[in-house]
Structure formats: C-alpha cells, structure tokens
C-alpha cells in the first residue's frame, strides 16, 4: 500500500515533467489533485499500525539492503498533516505559476519531494530513512535554486549544512550497525538495544546520539546550524517557502521524536545510573539548551532583518527552538507540546509565508521598507498574515497559544526556570519582529507605485482562508490535534496529557480554550459598545497626518518617505552590537568556506610545482608514507 503510493508518486512526477511548458496550470492542478488522492489514501491507512512492507534491494557480503515501510502513529500523524499542508500550498501554486515564470522541473522535483516526505515518515529502518532523507535533500536543493543565480548561494547554505548532517547520520547508522550489541538497522529495535547498551557503554551511545542529533539539528536549523533557513527561504520560489518552513524544517524534529526522544525515555527507564538534571538525562538537558539558544538567536536575527522572507525564516528557526526545548524535557507535556507546536507552526507559518507569497506575487518586492499600507488593498492577505502572527506570537485565542501554553506547562512543571526564561524572552521578542513585519508590509503608508495593487485571485485566497480557518479551529478546539498526538506520545512510552476537545489539563493549571476564545469575543463586543458612543468617525487620507504643520507635498514628503520601516529596531541592534560583532556564527561558516577554497587552490597549485617529477608532492607523500608505516 505505502510502496504503491510512493510508486504512484514517482509516476506522477514523470507525468508532470512530461507535460509541456504550455500546460502549467494543468501540471499544478494535476499535482494538487494527485496529492489530494494521496491524502485520501493516507486517511484510509489510519489505524493500520504495525503494518510493514519489505522490498529487498540486494545483499552483498554481510549486509542486506532492503526498503522497509511501515506505519507508526507518529509517522502517520506527520505524513497526514504535512500532506494536507502541501495540498494547501499547491492550490496556491496553481495561480502563482500560471502568472509567473515557472521552471518545469520544480513541479517534478516537488512531487518527488512529497514522495520522499512520505517515505521519511513511513520508513521503519535506517537505510530507508536515509534514502528518503537524501532524496529529500537534493530535490529540495534544486527547487530552491532552479537555475536562479542569486538563489544558488542561498541554497548552498542549506545544502552544505544538510549534507553535513546527512553524512553524520550515515556514520551514525553504520556505527549502530557495527556495534556488536546492536547490529540492527531497524529503528524501533535499535532504540531498545541502544538504551540497554547505555548501561555498559555510555560513551558509544553518546557518540551515536551526537551523530544523529547533528543530522537532525542541521536539518531543523537548530543552533549552530541556524543560518540556512534565512538564506534558503528568502531565495526559494515564493510558493516553496511555505513548504520549506512548514514542512521541510520539521524533518529534523521528526527525527528527534522518532529516535532521540524515545531513546532518552528508554534510557531513563532502563538505566538508573545515568547523570540526571532535574529528572532528565544531562545530555537531554544540554540539547534542550540548544533549543533555547536557537529560540533566542532566531528571534534576535528576525528582529534585525529587513527582508520579509528572511524575517519569517528566522521566526521559523526560533519556533523550532521552542519545539526542540520542549521535546527534550522528555515529560509527557513536553513531548506533546513540542509535537503540537510543530503542527501549529506548520499551519501558521505556511499561512504567513503564503500571505508573503501573495504580497510578493502582486508587488515583486521583498525588502520590507519598500512596501507598506497594503492592508487596505489586500484585506484577505492582511487578515491571514495578522492571524498568522497572532498565532506565531502565541496570543490567545489562536492555535500558537495552545501549544505555547503546553510548552510552558512542561517547562514550569519540570522546574526549568532558566529555560523558561529563555523561551519567554524569545516569545516576547517574537512580538517585536512580527509586529515589525505587519507594520512594514501591511500598515503605514502605501507607496504610490502600489496604488493599483489588487487582492490576489480567489484560487490563491482559498489556501489562505483555509489557513485562517485551521488556525482558528485548532485554537478553539486543540483537542482535535492533541488526540492523535496523544496516541503518538503513548507509543513513546509516556502517559499522554488529559485533553478534551476544548480542554487541556496540565500539572500546574488547566485551560479551556473555548472559554478563552469566547472571552476575547465578549471583550471585543464590550469594547465595540464603547466604540458606538459619540459621533461617527470620519475617514481621512493616509497622508493627512501630523507633520508638524508642514504640507507634505510642499515639503517633498512622499508616502515612501513617510513610512517608517527601515532600521526599525536599530536600538535593539545597538544594544546587541558588541556581542554580535564578536559572535557571528555566519562569519565562522564563511571563513570555513573561504579556507576550504584556498586550501583547495593551494593543493591544486601544488601539482604544478617543481618540474616534471613534482618533487614537492613526492617528498610530501614519501614522508607521509613513512610516517604512516612507522606509526600505525
């Protein structure tokens, strides 16, 4: 069944590629419909836990390569949600690509990517997982940079870090396999065996965990791998950015939930001697700190960036940070909160990116200070973005709030004061950049060149409206998502949180989301009653503004000039400048690349040196050989 779906995906990809350049709309509609079919099939797979399909590829020596697909609760959950979000994005893509220049390969690669997406979530052994992981990496690389020169540099950030992670995972996989006590490629059994091994050989287990964590962190852009999303999201096709941010960046988190978190939970159960902090293994605690650092760092970088897609991308980074921190708390609430936040983030961040895509679709601008005042021109887009950022900031009654609440429950009930502070700092900071984006793009003065901007076509609005509805829906009744999450959490060996459709019960307090939502609505009516008092307000032109008595036209004041958006948070930047100058991870990476290049150039120049006999190389080589032979 699963392999059939994957096979169909490949066939669909080829069909999409075969469709000519003229049939853009057909191609994208076809892929959206196809994915709808896949989503339907996936829905049918619900409940068939434990089903495994095996396809032998070959065996050579002592290794047997085979593809194993199975349905786990966690995997199904991820597969289903990502597919639905992908359908949303593809509906958006239909119009977007009909009106803009489209590369034929994008759709082909994207369908492959969607297939590998499913394969990642359905793989039950490491080889399959790694294969799907690799396919995902290279297809997404070429979607991000389908022959556009400026996107290439951006994609490289993504690609190099991802490949680095992938290779780390490769070593990890084979290290697992090579360890005599484990010697399995099955994910589930490797967790159990590793947990047992941690009693006798904690060092090996630690290194294996580190290798996998490197890989997952690199994919999910956790510190110190945080630079790639900003680059890649910003330069990717506008309809791919939602996918990148909503789905792709979650693979690392899926890996963590699939392997690292259950492993830690197992280790806690099996191995009583492990070093603990606040009731969780010290490694887990350290990793949680990585998440917290990511959250704060992502927030700061989002605050100081001027490119709207970069801002949203850094926001993604920081949200990933919350989820990572929460997951590594290892409590039921922590894992649930992390997982729930992943879903919520997927929903609201794709909504945000879709609305940004819509803005770019109409204005072709990405720098925020060149935009402004679009809210009146594009109300649906504005509303999507507004609700998106409300959700992202974790403000009730939208969905982001529900997951943040659980995260705080987990952090506070687990007694992690400093982690909580970091997360709170990031969360408050989120407010800064989100508002900045809202203001710079949608509020303030409308530049004259955008006077004729219209709302995007209806087909493009559909996914945005769907996004709004799902944000409101999940915010009102988080139980609809939390219940399947509860199943997945239970499968990890934790007691799931008590939830009903609109009620979440935590250790420190409980919350009824329906009541919170209706409180807001009630308060709004209360305020509205005040609004009705007195004379009706009248409208004025945007430029009829307090300008200290000066006539704007006489003064040469244009809407563009009167829109305060550039260097919005310069003071914040000033506060952090001393730290930023010293500690810029990006500069380290750049230096690394520079050094690699010059190292390569030096080596290749070495080949040209010193005559036909190449004494330089020769002598070097002899020295190496002698040393190696002597010492090893």
């Amino acid at each position: 069944m699963i392999s059939n779906i994957l096979l169909y995906t490949m066939i669909a990809a080829v069909i999409s590629f075969a469709l000519g350049q003229k049939l853009k709309a057909v191609r994208w509609s076809f892929s959206a419909l196809f994915l709808g079919y896949v989503g339907f099939q996936l829905y049918g797979l619900y409940g068939q836990w434990g089903m495994v399909e095996t396809h032998n590829i070959f065996s050579l020596g002592s290794i047997n390569f085979s593809l194993n697909f199975g349905i786990t609760k966690l995997g199904w959950f991820f597969a289903f949600f990502t597919t639905i979000i992908n359908i949303m994005i593809w509906i958006f893509s239909i119009v977007k690509n009909m009106n803009e220049k489209e590369e034929r390969g994008i759709n082909f690669l994207w369908i492959l990517l969607a297939g590998s997406n499913l394969a990642i979530f359905f793989s039950v052994d490491w080889i399959t997982f790694f294969i799907a992981w690799e396919i995902m990496t290279w297809t997404s690389f070429f979607i991000i940079t389908p022959g556009w020169k400026n996107s290439f540099k951006a994609a490289n950030w993504y690609f190099i870090l991802s490949m680095f992670g992938a290779y780390a995972m490769l070593v990890g996989i084979w290290w697992l396999y090579a360890t005599p006590a484990i010697h399995t490629l099955n994910i589930a059994s490797s967790i159990a065996l590793l947990a047992k091994l941690s009693i006798t050989a904690p060092g090996t287990v630690g290194i294996i965990i580190a290798l996998f964590v490197l890989s997952f962190f690199a994919k999910s852009a956790v510190f110190p791998f945080h630079p790639w999303p900003a680059e890649a999201h910003a330069e990717a096709p506008d309809d791919f950015s939602p996918y990148l941010s909503g789905i792709m960046i979650k693979y690392g988190l899926y890996g963590i939930l699939l392997f690292i978190v259950p492993l830690f939970i197992q280790i806690m159960k099996v191995n009583p001697n492990i070093a603990m902090v606040n009731g969780i293994p010290v490694y887990s605690y350290i990793l949680a700190w990585f998440g917290a650092i990511t959250a704060v760092l992502g927030t700061y970088l989002a605050i100081v960036s001027n490119d709207m897609k970069k801002l949203a991308a850094y926001s993604t980074v920081s949200n990933i940070g919350y989820a990572v921190t929460s997951m590594f708390i290892l409590s039921s609430a922590g894992v649930t909160g992390g997982l729930f936040h992943v879903v919520n983030h997927a929903v609201f961040k794709s909504a945000i990116f879709l609305s940004l895509g819509a803005v770019k679709f109409r204005t072709h601008e990405r720098e925020m200070h060149k935009l402004g005042g679009l809210a009146t021109k594009m109300p649906i887009t504005f509303l999507t973005f507004l609700l998106g950022i409300i959700a992202a900031a974790g403000i009730p009654p939208l969905n982001g709030y529900a997951s943040k609440w659980i995260i705080y429950q987990a952090l506070l009930s687990g007694h992690f004061p400093f982690l909580t502070t970091m997360i709170f700092l990031a969360s408050t900071g989120a407010f800064l950049y989100l508002f900045r984006a809202l203001h710079s793009i949608f509020l303030g003065q409308l530049p004259r060149k955008f006077n004729n901007v219209k709302e995007v076509p209806f087909l493009m609005q559909i996914p945005m409206i769907l996004g709004i509805l799902s944000m409101l829906g999940i915010g009102y009744a988080p139980g609809i998502v939390l219940k399947p999450i509860g199943l997945a959490v239970k499968a990890m060996g934790l007691t799931p949180m008590t939830v009903e459709n609109t009620l979440m019960v935590g250790k420190l307090s409980s919350i009824n989301t329906a009541v919170v939502s209706s409180t807001f609505i009630g308060a709004f009516f209360f305020a509205f009653a005040f609004y009705l008092i007195g004379k009706k307000r009248h409208h004025v032109e945007p430029l009829d503004n307090y300008t200290a008595g000066q006539d704007p036209e006489e003064f040469g004041l244009t809407p563009e000039l009167y829109h305060f958006a550039l260097k919005f948070y310069e003071p914040v930047k000033n506060i952090f400048r001393p730290i930023e100058e010293k500690l810029n991870i990006k500069n380290y990476y750049r230096a690394l690349v520079r050094n690699a290049n010059s190292f390569g150039a030096t080596l290749s120049e070495m080949f040209k040196l010193s005559g036909a006999g190449s004494s330089m190389i020769f002598v070097l080589g002899l020295v190496v050989i002698i040393l190696a032979g002597w010492m090893l």
């Binding site: 010193s610 005559g611 006999g613």
Partner: protein, 118 residues
Amino acid sequence: MIQSTFFYTTAIILFLIGLYGVLTKRNVIKTIITLTIMETAVNLFLVTIGYVKNGTAPIFTSTISDVHKFVDPLPQALVLTSIVIGLGTTALMLSLAIRLYKKYKTLNYLEMDGEDEK
C-alpha cells in the same frame, strides 16, 4: 661476493642519483637523462641478481654440468626487455621534449605557461 655487493651498492647509488635528478631537475632534457640513469641502475641491479662469479652460460654440455656455476638467464632476459622498453620510453620522451620546445620555446618545465583554456 664482494663484487656483487659492490654492484648492488652502485645500483642503489645510481638509482638515488636518478631519483634526485628526476625530482629536482626542471630542465626537460636533464629529467630525461636522470631517468635514463635510473633505468640503468635498475638494469644493473637485475643483472647483478643473476650474476655468479666465474659463471657459465646455463647450457648443459658435456663439460659443464655444475648447476651452481650457471648464470641465471632470466634476469638477463628481463634486462633485455627492460632495455628495449627503456629505449622506447626515452625516444618517446625526447620526441615530447622536441614538441614541448616547439610549443613553448623553452626547455624549463616551469616556464611552460599559457594556453590553458579549452
């Protein structure tokens, strides 16, 4: 026995001289010469392996039947082959040297620059 040690030593010294030359000389012709020295060294070495003092040709005749006095013929065959190959190689190298000189008007290998595109 002393003589064969002498030959071995000579061969190795020659080989090292050749090696040194190959590695350090930048002049194409000098490189070729040093290579030839190396080949000679190897040939000398091979011949020495088969060398027997006061040896005879390895042919059983009525008079000579002392197997220990036979000179091993195989190394000599090897050396012959090697010499032939060496000759071919040297010729090839020299022809290349001519071509190089025609192209670059110099015999210094390091000064042969330009024309790197395509």
